[in-house]
C-alpha cells in the first residue's frame, strides 16, 4: 500500500539564515522505503522541478556511522526505538500522515543548512580526553597480559557502542550531552588501561562539555529512550561518580 504524505520540513539556507518550516507533498511512498529513501524521492522531485533539494546528513545508511540525525514528529530518529533515521522505515507511518522534520536543536549544534547541524562540539570533547595516552608503536604489552573481568569488559563495550549521533542532546529538554560524555568516560573508566589517567580525563572532558554550551542533566531519561544504541543512564551516574571523585582528588 503506497502512501501519500505531507512533509513539514525546516529549510534554512545557511548558518546565518533565519529559516522556516516549509510544506511538501510526496506520493507513492512504499512502506518498504527507509525514511531517507523517502527524502531521496522528495529531492529527486525537487531537482526535477528546479527547486533546491533538502540538505540532510547521511552516510552508511545502516545505522552505525552516526551521521544521520533528524527530529521526526517530535522525536530524535523518529518514532521507532533502537534505530537511527536511516533504519526507520516508512511502514511506521500511514497514508495521509503529516510528518514534521526538523534538525537536531541545541546551541552546541548550530544548523549548517536545512536539516544539517554541526556536531564538531562532540569531537572537541573527545580531543580533550577521549583517549588513552599510548603511542601506536605496537610495542605495548601482550594483549592477554592483563585479564579483564568479563562483566567489566562487556559493560565497557556497551558504553563504547555509542555512535556519536547526538540524539541524546536533541532529545534532552536541556540539550545536555551527559549521555554521550558519560558513555566515553565509562568505557575507559571500566578498563584497567584507562584508569591511569581517569582523573584528568573526566575533568577535562566535562569542562569541554560545559564550555561547548550543553545544558545540565535533570535525569529525565529521554536520552536513554531515544538513543539508537540503548546507552544506559548508568553511564551518567558513573561519570558523576568519576567526576566527583576526581574533583576531590584534583
Amino acid at each position: 500500500m503506497d502512501m501519500n504524505l505531507t512533509l513539514k520540513i525546516w529549510r534554512q539556507k545557511n548558518a546565518s539564515d533565519k529559516g522556516s518550516m516549509v510544506d511538501y507533498k510526496v506520493s507513492d511512498i512504499s512502506p518498504d522505503m527507509s525514511f531517507l529513501e523517502m527524502l531521496d524521492v522528495l529531492n529527486e522531485q525537487l531537482i526535477n522541478n528546479d527547486e533546491e533539494p533538502v540538505a540532510f546528513d547521511h552516510d552508511c545508511r545502516e545505522g552505525i556511522c552516526g551521521m544521520c540525525s533528524l527530529y521526526i514528529n517530535g522525536e530524535a530518529h523518529g518514532p521507532d526505538r533502537g534505530v537511527t533515521t536511516c533504519q526507520l522505515h516508512m511502514r511506521m507511518f500511514k497514508d495521509g500522515d503529516t510528518i514534521t522534520i526538523e534538525p537536531f536543536r541545541a546551541t552546541a549544534f548550530p544548523v549548517v543548512k536545512d536539516l544539517i547541524v554541526d556536531r564538531s562540539s562532540f569531537d572537541r570533547i573527545q580531543h580533550a580526553g577521549g583517549f588513552i595516552s599510548v603511542n601506536t608503536s605496537g610495542n605495548t604489552i601482550d594483549a592477554n597480559a592483563t585479564p579483564i573481568n568479563k562483566a567489566d569488559a562487556d559493560t565497557a563495550f556497551e558504553a563504547a557502542t555509542c555512535i556519536g549521533c547526538g540524539a541524546c542532546v536533541a532529545s534532552c529538554k536541556n540539550s545536555s550531552a551527559m549521555l554521550f560524555v558519560g558513555a566515553k568516560v565509562s568505557q575507559f573508566a571500566l578498563l584497567p588501561q584507562g584508569k591511569v589517567e581517569a582523573t584528568d580525563r573526566v575533568l577535562n572532558m566535562v569542562k569541554q562539555m560545559d564550555d561547548e554550551g550543553f545544558g545540565n542533566c535533570t535525569n529525565t531519561g529521554a536520552c536513554e529512550v531515544e538513543c539508537p544504541k540503548g546507552i544506559s543512564l548508568e553511564n551518567i551516574a558513573r561519570m558523576n561518580r568519576e567526576y566527583l571523585a576526581a574533583s576531590l582528588k584534583g
Binding site: N48, I64, D123, T136, G138, T140, A153
Partner: protein
C-alpha cells in the same frame, strides 16, 4: 615506465625486519619541518595520521564526513584476524600468510602479505592498549572465533561492530594528536586533485563542503586512505558517500590503477526491495554457520511462493533445492564468499529467485532451531519430542547467537526470521583492486602513498573475511610510518612547500572549471539518474559473472553514458554553499571513467580468479566441471593501468607475481 615493486631481497620471513633495519630515518628535529597530508580517516588513514603525528610530522587530515569517526570502516561487523595463536590451534604467521594468499586465489604479492601476517599480532596488542573493548572469555582473556572457512580461530571481535570499535581506537589516537596540535583536522573537506611539483606529489586541492571554498594544501608527501570504489555499482554495502575520486584523481596524475575488476560480492545481504533502494545492507556471514540456503526445486512452487499462495516453510523438504549442499558437499553452505554468491546468481538467473524481483534465495534456520532445541532439551532433561518446546528452546539459542542480525532483518524486511526463512542476495561489498603501490605503499607518483582498501596490495583477487580491518590498521600503524620516512629523509632541507606555484594554480583552475561546469550546465537529469544507470550496466554485465560479449557492450555503454552525463547532468544550486548534488556529480563523473576501465580490465583478464569470474574460463569436465578455472601461465600478474586520456586508451603494465614460498593450487570446495 616499468613497475618496480621494490620488494627487498632475502628470505620472506626476514624481509620486513631487515628492510626496517636499513631504511633511512628522519631525526626528530627534522620531522617538525616536514608536512604530511592524509586523506581519509578510516582504519588506514586514521591510524596513519595518528602515528605520523606521534612520530613528530605535521599532519593535515581530510575527511568528507562531519567527523573522522564516521568513515565507513565503522560498518565492518565480523572481526579482525591476527596470528596470535591464543587458541593453540596451530596458527602462525606463516599460516595466516598462506591462508591470505590462497584465499586471494594466488593473485597477491607474497612479500606484502607476509608482512601483513607478521604485524597482525601487534595490532591486537595496540588496540587493547588503546582501550578497544574486544570480546572476552570468563577468564578475562580475549575471545576468538573462526571466520571465512579457514581452519583456525584467529578472529578477534567486538560483538557485531568490530569495525566501529577499531575505528574509535584509531580516532582516539587521532584525538590525542589533535589535542596536542600535531594533527590539523579538516572535516567536511573533499579532495578534488593531487598536485605534483617537479614530478613529486606536493599537495592537494580540496573543496570545503560547507562553504564551497576551493583550497590549496601543500605537504612533502600525500597519503590516500580513501577506501574502495564499490559504489561504482550504485547499489553496494558501501556508505552513500564512499567514492573513488581521490584514487581516480591520483590515477589521472600518473598513479597506476591495479586490478580494478577484482570485486568482492558478499553473499548474505538483504535483497533489493524496489527501485527506491539507495543502498544494500549486509548481514554477517556468520549466519551461514547455521542457516541453510535453498530455493524451490520446481518453478510452480517458486510462483506459488512469490504470489503468497504458498508459505516457504510449508514447502516439503523434497521439493527444496539446497543447492550449495548439492554442489559442494564438502563445504556446503560454508563455501567462500565468491562461490556462494555465484551459485545464488545461477539459481536466480535460472528463474528460481523467491521474491518479487526474482533476486533472492532463502537462508533457513528451521533445522538449526530444531537441532539446537533438541540439544538444549536433552541437556536440560526436558522432553525432546515436545515440538513447541524444542522450537522455543532452539529459537532462544539462535537469538543469543544472531539476535541483533535477526532484529535488523525484521526492521528492514518486516518479516520474522525465526518463523519464516530469511531472504538473501549477494551485494557488492569490497574492492580488492585499487591504486597500485610498491612494497613501501608508494604509488607510481613519488611522494604519493596509498593505504587500506584504496590500494590493491594484499588481498589478491579475493579477500578473506576479517582481513580488511587487519590490512587497514597494518598499513596505517605499522607499515607506512616506517616506509614514508625513507622517502621523507630526502626532504629535510626542502622547507615548506609553497602553494603559490603554477602547479597549484593550474590544479585549482581545473578543479574550479569542473565545479563551474556542473552548476551552470542546465541538463535534464539528476546525478543519481546517471549513477543508477551506471550501476545497472555494471551489475548486469560486469557483476558476478562476466563474458566477452557483456564486457564489450558494457565498455561501449559506459562510454555513451559518460558522454550523455557531460551533456545532460543537472546540478541545482551554486558552488558557494553546501551542495550535496555538486559533490555527488564530481564523484559520479569519476565512477563513469573508472567503470569503463573496470570493464576493460575484466575483459583483459581471460581467466577466472577470486571475485573475477569469466564464463569462458571454467573447468570443462571432471569433478570440478563448471567451476572457476584460473590460468597461472598467462595471468599470474597484477594489471596496472596507466592513464592516457580516455579509459579505453589506458596502457596495461604487468607486475609479474612470483610465488616462492607457496605452491600454486586450484581451489576446490567439492
Amino acid at each position: 615506465m616499468s613497475l618496480d615493486s621494490k620488494v627487498p631481497q632475502g628470505p620472506i620471513k626476514d624481509k620486513w625486519t631487515d628492510y626496517k633495519n636499513h631504511i633511512d630515518l628522519v631525526n626528530p628535529a627534522n620531522k617538525r619541518n616536514i608536512d604530511v597530508i592524509v586523506v581519509g580517516t578510516g582504519l588506514a588513514g586514521g591510524s596513519a595520521a595518528a602515528t605520523l603525528a606521534e612520530l613528530g610530522y605535521n599532519v593535515k587530515v581530510f575527511c568528507f564526513q562531519d567527523s573522522p569517526r564516521r568513515a565507513h570502516s565503522i560498518a565492518a561487523q565480523g572481526g579482525i584476524n591476527a596470528a596470535k595463536n591464543y587458541q593453540g590451534d596451530g596458527d602462525s604467521t606463516y599460516r595466516l600468510f598462506y591462508d591470505t594468499v590462497k584465499g586471494g586465489d594466488y593473485r597477491s604479492r607474497e612479500a606484502n602479505v607476509y608482512r601483513l601476517a607478521e604485524v597482525s599480532a601487534n595490532i591486537i596488542d595496540q588496540c587493547v592498549a588503546q582501550g578497544v573493548p574486544f570480546a572476552r572469555e570468563y577468564g578475562g582473556l580475549l575471545d576468538n572465533r573462526s571466520f571465512g572457512g579457514v581452519l583456525v580461530s584467529r578472529t578477534f571481535y567486538a560483538a557485531g561492530q568490530t569495525g566501529q570499535q577499531l575505528l574509535l581506537g584509531a580516532y582516539s589516537a587521532m584525538n590525542r594528536q589533535i589535542g596536542r596540535g600535531k594533527i590539523k583536522m579538516y572535516n567536511r573537506h573533499e579532495m578534488l586533485d593531487v598536485v605534483k611539483v617537479d614530478g613529486k606529489a606536493r599537495g592537494i586541492i580540496t573543496r570545503n563542503l560547507i562553504t564551497g571554498e576551493v583550497e590549496r594544501h601543500s605537504a612533502h608527501a600525500v597519503v590516500l586512505g580513501t577506501g574502495g570504489y564499490g559504489n561504482v555499482f550504485f547499489l553496494s554495502t558501501n556508505a552513500m558517500g564512499s567514492n573513488v575520486t581521490a584514487g581516480w584523481k591520483a590515477h589521472k596524475k600518473g598513479a597506476y590503477f591495479a586490478n580494478p575488476c577484482y570485486t568482492q560480492i558478499h553473499p548474505t545481504c538483504i535483497p533489493v526491495s524496489g527501485d527506491h533502494q539507495s543502498k544494500l545492507t549486509l548481514m554477517s556471514e556468520s549466519l551461514r554457520n547455521d542457516g541453510r540456503i535453498w530455493v524451490p526445486k520446481h518453478k510452480k512452487d517458486v510462483e506459488a511462493i512469490k504470489s503468497g499462495a504458498l508459505k516457504p516453510r510449508e514447502l516439503a523438504e523434497d521439493d527444496r533445492d539446497y543447492y550449495l549442499e548439492r554442489r559442494y558437499p564438502a563445504f556446503g553452505n560454508l563455501v567462500p564468499r565468491d562461490v556462494a554468491s555465484r551459485a545464488a546468481k545461477e539459481r536466480c538467473d535460472a528463474g528460481f529467485g523467491v521474491n518479487a524481483t526474482g533476486e533472492a534465495v532463502f537462508l533457513d534456520f528451521a533445522s538449526a532451531i530444531q537441532r539446537y532445541g533438541k540439544e538444549t532439551a536433552h541437556v536440560k532433561g526436558l522432553d525432546e519430542n515436545d515440538a513447541a518446546l524444542v522450537k522455543k528452546l532452539g529459537q532462544e539459542v539462535i537469538k543469543n547467537k544472531y539476535g541483533n542480525l535477526f532484529q535488523m532483518y525484521e526492521k528492514i524486511v518486516d518479516q520474522d526470521p525465526y518463523n519464516t526463512p530469511m531472504m538473501i542476495y549477494p551485494a557488492v561489498h569490497y574492492t580488492m583492486g585499487g591504486v597500485w603501490v610498491d612494497y613501501n605503499l608508494m604509488t607510481t607518483v613519488p611522494g604519493l602513498y596509498c593505504i587500506g582498501e584504496a590500494n590493491f596490495s594484499d588481498h589478491g583477487a579475493n579477500r578473506l573475511g576479517a582481513s580488511a580491518l587487519m590490512q587497514g590498521l597494518a598499513d596505517g600503524y605499522f607499515v607506512l610510518p616506517y616506509t614514508i620516512g625513507d622517502y621523507l629523509s630526502n626532504d629535510i632541507r626542502t622547507g615548506p612547500i609553497s602553494t603559490d606555484s603554477k602547479e597549484f594554480e593550474e590544479a585549482e583552475k581545473e578543479v574550479r572549471k569542473q565545479l563551474e561546469f556542473f552548476v551552470t550546465n542546465k541538463g535534464s537529469h539528476s546525478v543519481d539518474y546517471f549513477h543508477k544507470k551506471l550501476g545497472k550496466i555494471m551489475w548486469n554485465k560486469v557483476g558476478m559473472s562476466r563474458n566477452v560479449k557483456g564486457l564489450t557492450e558494457a565498455i561501449a555503454e559506459i562510454k555513451a553514458l559518460r558522454e550523455e552525463f557531460w551533456k545532460e547532468v543537472k546540478v541545482p544550486g551554486t558552488n558557494e554553499e553546501y551542495n550535496e548534488e555538486l559533490a555527488k556529480a564530481g564523484r559520479v563523473a569519476d565512477f563513469l571513467e573508472l567503470g569503463e576501465l573496470f570493464a576493460k580490465d575484466a575483459l583483459n583478464r581471460e581467466e577466472s580468479c577470486g571475485g573475477h569470474f569469466r564464463e569462458d574460463s571454467v573447468e570443462l569436465d571432471g569433478e570440478q566441471k563448471g567451476e572457476a578455472l584460473r590460468n597461472d601461465k598467462d595471468f599470474a600478474y597484477v594489471s596496472a593501468w596507466e592513464y592516457k586520456g580516455e579509459p579505453s586508451d589506458a596502457v596495461l603494465h604487468k607486475e609479474e607475481l612470483e610465488f616462492k614460498d607457496i605452491e600454486l593450487k586450484q581451489r576446490s570446495y567439492k
